[in-house]
Homo-oligomer: 426 residues x 2
């Protein structure tokens, strides 16, 4: 049996005064989502844990059945995977921003004037070779890029070079491990042994040295690059420095195939979501016109889902625009987008045996950031113990038969309904 | 944004025949608590875990967001902190009872006739000095006192000297570690290494020796103390022995400031609750007239809350009398006290952005002890997804939008609503 898992990024909300104390989901006319709730079983879900605002990466790890507290060390690896780098467990990855610095290495613009078309710069930086690790460097969108270090004895326990502020000098990368200052670490040393600690410390020192050397060399390359000279002549900010941050180590995610015995595909524009799905061993589908914004081509995404269902057990359809409207604080636009997406869902309701509605996190238009409130989920399909809930919304779902679940529990429940779960015990 | 967290100690109950099979909360007229439920979101909470009766210390640890199974080793450290001793992580603390023993060290009265005014005795015992650790000894109320050992290489894995029964001889303190009899320990040894075990064993031996020496010396001092000679002449029981129990090690509780980024104050009379709050880094406010009983000055406590709100993000208001009425098995008095406290709440409902109602544990008047039933919670304030529940009671709360939560989840949820939570991931 097959299933579609729809993920409405930031679609859940809190009651909005301007909507008559309803949430956008409660205010929107969305017959298809409600039909799924009516046919199926609803519940409320803490993607990570009660009161904990999920990030996009941790939320999607949980929605694919992984425990984010076990596998997550930082955003870098997921950004890199989203950029199409084929990450291997143990790879160290960082996010890199093309930025503008002056001769004293003071940051003038953290995004180099939101530069577009960095490929020539990225190709030049990509030539950097240092002994001790392989460097993989790739642009994503606008000023963003991803840097991966592959080799032995590396560590993610190092600091950012990004000062995260304009007017500050770029930072030297440093090892994070300073036992005298860190109670938690002292305890880890006592628990795990000094030898293990020394190994971690060595890895952090090696990685620090490599990253600082990379920063120096890339600055040499970038400040003299013809494209930057041209930008300066045109009065544009040169992209002459790479600010590094979000370092993490690529976890070994047991692929969905192994973990649940299912094949999976993912229709998503957001790089981070694509990255998580790729690392989970899913096929990540490119859809022309999918933008990760409210102007995305919903019909093209729907067609991609229908196509992917032919060869996959599970197809994840991720739609991002809700979150954008919440970050803008625009409740009416969020309601409108919910209604547009709902219309698109009409031809997906019966396209697979199961259809599940989920949300990665609440993003209230009143807060404009992710919050830790639970989100509604609904699953419809054969054998589901349908409940009395007939509306897909935050408050209606709290009455549902699923009760309260955690994000990492959703996919096991769906896989079990699909008849693909494995018995524990005999 | 600011919040008041009201904790009604033992306020939850089971249906009482004499109240028409209603619980005291269901039977009481309490318009203010009901108004909070009506405005807000309700749920039922297992403070520790389903079916586990919480102690006062573990319950309040959970209500402040700590996992009691991680941080709790015994009641001693919280009693000591409640007695105003500034506990440091690693301190070993015990509860001490002034008791009466005969010349053969057989316990005649575990409370020395509920002696009052032990200060002269405590001052004398406080002079005891033993090499190997610093001793801090302080009286609390009536026959109660707290003993703290501060030093290196100490352990909480030792037995009580209190035989917990009249007519029995006082016990020698012994190391708890007897590998041949203890499967759990055997496993710990295998996991942690023999060396670690030997360290624990050494600590237990050292602590045992110190406590037995303290017991011997304090007995010498007490049996010859003028105050006791005077008591005997008056026909009163002498307080000539200190029964030790409830040994525990002071955990490192990450202060609320660090854990949640909020400042907190606590208005409570009960020593144990004050101790937990103090160890969580909260300001513990002294309120003249607050007794921890039904005769407490509720108006004075209310004023203290209003005052504390000026300089704190979170103010905990703990009221104890409900529990006392339950231990007495007095349902009508419990109903009456609920009504009195409810009246006091009228001026607190709108005093902060948020008001939350919680209970540390159920204490049924029929059982007269803490039980493991869940307790009702309600949170009102801006952005809350208000539900249909309009009564604050055990059974009404089970229908609420919060569903079922654990005690340690309540504060993260409240802090998230206050806009102070931190995102996990990016």
């Amino acid at each position: 049996m097959k299933a579609i898992l729809f993920i409405g990024d930031g679609m859940a909300d809190r009651p909005v005064a301007a909507l008559g104390n309803r949430t956008p989901l409660e205010a929107a006319r969305k017959p298809n989502m409600d039909e799924i709730a009516r046919r199926g079983i609803s519940g409320e879900m803490y993607t990570i844990a009660p009161g904990v605002p999920p990030g996009s990466d941790t939320a999607h790890l949980a929605l694919l059945g992984y425990d984010p507290y076990e596998v997550y060390t930082g955003r870098g690896p997921f950004e890199a995977a989203g950029a199409g780098i084929d990450m291997r467990p143990g790879d160290i990855a960082l996010r890199a921003n093309y930025a503008t610095v002056d001769d004293a290495l003071v940051v003038k613009d953290r995004r180099a004037g939101r530069i577009q078309g960095t490929k020539p710069l990225t190709d030049a930086v990509g030539q950097i070779k240092l002994s001790g690790a392989q460097f993989i460097f790739r642009s994503t969108a606008s000023h963003r890029a991803a840097l991966v270090l592959r080799g032995t004895g590396l560590s993610y326990e190092v600091t950012d070079s990004d000062p995260h502020e304009i007017g500050k000098k770029v930072l030297q990368v440093k090892p994070l491990l300073r036992p005298s200052e860190d109670m938690e670490l002292a305890r880890a040393i006592l628990a795990g042994g000094v030898r293990k600690y020394l190994g971690r410390r060595r890895g952090a020192n090696k990685t620090t040295k490599l990253l600082n050397e990379f920063s120096r060399k890339s600055y040499e390359i970038l400040k003299n690059h013809p494209l930057n000279r041209e930008r300066v002549m045109k009065g544009l900010l040169p992209a002459n420095y790479l600010l590094l941050r979000g370092v993490g180590i690529a976890p070994h995610l047991k692929p969905l195939r192994e973990k649940f015995g299912i094949t999976g595909a993912c229709v998503a524009a957001a790089a981070l979501v694509r990255g998580v799905c790729r690392m989970a061993g899913m096929t990540v589908i490119d859809v022309p016109g999918a933008t990760g914004s409210v102007d995305t081509d919903l019909n093209a995404k729907r067609e991609a889902v229908l196509q992917a269902l032919k060869t996959n057990d599970l197809v994840v359809l991720h739609v991002k625009g809700f979150d954008e409207m919440s970050h803008d604080g625009n409740a009416p636009a969020k309601v409108q987008f919910i209604e547009r997406v709902d219309a698109m869902l009409s031809s997906l309701i019966d396209a697979a045996d199961f259809i599940a509605l989920a949300i990665d996190h609440t993003t209230p238009v009143s807060v404009r950031e992710h919050t830790g409130d639970p989100v509604p989920v609904a699953i419809a399909g054969p054998g589901v113990r349908a409940d009395e809930v007939s509306v897909y919304s935050e408050r209606a779902a709290a009455e549902g038969g699923l009760g309260r679940i955690l994000g990492k529990e959703l996919l096991p429940i769906l896989v079990d309904l699909m008849g693909r779960s494995k018995k524990f015990g005999a």
